[in-house]
Amino acid sequence: MIAWSAPAADRHAEPPSRRRTRWIDGDPTLRDITDDVMRPLTSRPGAAWWAAFAVAASALAIGAASVTYEVTTGIGTWGLNKTVGWAFDITNFVFWVGIGHAGTLISAILLLLRQQWRTAISRSAEAMTIFAVMCAAMFPLIHMGRPWLAFWVLPYPNSRGPLWVNFRSPLLWDVFAINTYLTISLVFWYVGMIPDFATLRDRAQSPLRRFAYSMLSLGWDGSARTWSRYETASTLLAGLATPLVISVHTIVSMDFATSVLPGWHATIFPPYFVAGAVFSGFAMVLTLLIIVRRVMRLERYITLRHLDAMAKIMLLTGSIVGLAYATEFYNAWYGHNVYERAVFLNRVTGPYAWGFWIMVGCNACAPQLLWIRRLRRNVPILFALSIAVNVGMWFERFIIIVTSLHRSFLPSTWTMYRPSMIEVGTLIGSFGLFFTCFLLFVRLLPMIAMWEVKALAGHRDEATR
């Protein structure tokens, strides 16, 4: 639905110079910015949006159907067996948690580092984070044999003695990590939108909208006092969120690292997973923004220089991931552990080797193209790469989980795993959920932080007046 030609703004983009990079093309006035950002909210949705929404919604429906069937009939509707107890469920879980990483990283860490290029993309990245974490949180729930008892993993006073939860279990750490992360991200996202809500409030025609936005803007009155407190608040939040970026995936990785299974039991997992998460997160941000900037006519604010910056981060994290792969194999070889060796040999040559090579190709090799500046600024190539990385990262989790499980210690227990239609449906459904949410987001909320972008454009505006 999108024709690929370098957008007008880019053709006469000024060459790089000593001056610090400008993150907006052209010279929009503050009003222009507000208009541009609010266009999607005020105008009626186009055919493209409806088409996209239809696809996403039906995917969501498929997912809903699959989950309902699985929960009512039993986990047996999946392809799991006595040896492979996790496969698609946890693969998807880790995959989505990973996606959810870019948001906080961009907003919190880059904010603390005063990286101005984050301003244009932070909002949508945060939104993406929240939706991704929602998708992720779904899987630990539905993968339970008795999901209706999921609340037992929460430590709450009860009439059983009381009987508490097992604080030694990484799954429990997950519960806390994911929930904390979701909460902080939500608050952070919301707080970030307050000034824009105020703008929307002031511009809203219908009384209903005005009421809604005034609720959301918490009585914001752009006074200097408000602004200064607001600055403090968001810096504090950023400080709070920063450790989470590390903690969440560190803890997710411990689901595997703390086990005894060869291929899971590895101390390298936390850094390896965090890097991978940021990697996949940025890949997803790229995928989305490349589409969005196009269909929402936001090339002016989400410039090639933004894409370039993100590509660089992908290059870095991608290389870290590649290094992690290598290290794992080195350990397996150097460690002289017969079980460990067998697992990694099986990954490379075994029945799931195809998946392994997809993973290596997409995650370790493909990003190396980004050393070339021209490719970093070639939108189609970037788009293709970002998709590749998304696929590769999904397979990374699949390979880690399934190849370690299906051939562990006792050869008598070795089995094969084949996903059932229900599992595939659930995966599709999670994408449906994600994109439905995101499509609604771009229609209902300002997907660029106007007040921050204006701060960048601000001084030029002064001069023209």
Binding site: S159, R160, G161, L163, F211, S214, M215, D221
Partner: protein, 179 residues
């Protein structure tokens, strides 16, 4: 701009109340304290166990050797009532049933979910009073479940018995009751 503050306040309040109510009710799901169904024969424990001091284990002899205390078979009733002259409508009913070779279908008062293994003889052997769990049945005309029979309630007793060395120690292993 007060509207949003007001709204927020009310919203928060309602949520809090709803949560409290829900929590309270959920915590009582499956607890049948006070359950006292009407029995096909209005047998009075107060009369038998209380006034006439018939020992519990005379009728519920199963408690000595079996996991089930057991409901006395009709022939046990008849041990006495075969001799006693006094007649009541309930006794008539009982004799009628016996003539028809039909056992009495009593309603079980103290029900445990069957993922719990409870063994009467184990507790009788450890000198646990019947009343400790069943309450003062000898004062009840119609038997009523007095204890909550929740796991916490069991555990409390087991815990005490671990500290009190005058009685056989109770065990807190899950596998004591769940298998």
């Amino acid at each position: 701009m007060v509207s949003w503050q007001l709204a927020a306040a009310t919203a928060a309040l309602t949520c809090a109340i709803a949560a409290a109510v829900l929590a309270r009710e959920l915590s009582r799901v499956g607890v049948h304290q006070g359950y006292a169904p009407a029995q096909p024969i209005a047998f009075s424990h107060k009369l038998h166990a209380g006034d006439f001091r018939v020992p519990c284990l005379y009728c519920h002899f199963g408690a000595r050797t079996s996991r089930h205390a057991g409901i006395p078979p009709a022939n046990v009733c008849m041990n006495c009532h075969g001799l006693l002259q006094k007649q009541t409508t309930d006794l008539e009913l009982l004799k009628e049933l016996i003539d028809q070779q039909r056992p009495v279908a009593w309603i079980k008062v103290h029900n445990l979910p069957d993922f719990v293994y409870f063994n009467h003889s184990q507790h009788v052997t450890a000198h646990v009073e019947c009343q400790a769990c069943h309450g003062h049945v000898e004062r009840m005309t119609r038997v009523e479940q007095q204890a909550p029979l929740t796991m916490g309630w069991c555990i409390d007793c087991h815990r005490q018995r671990r500290t009190d060395f005058t009685v056989p120690a109770a065990n807190l292993d899950c596998g004591k009751c769940h298998y």
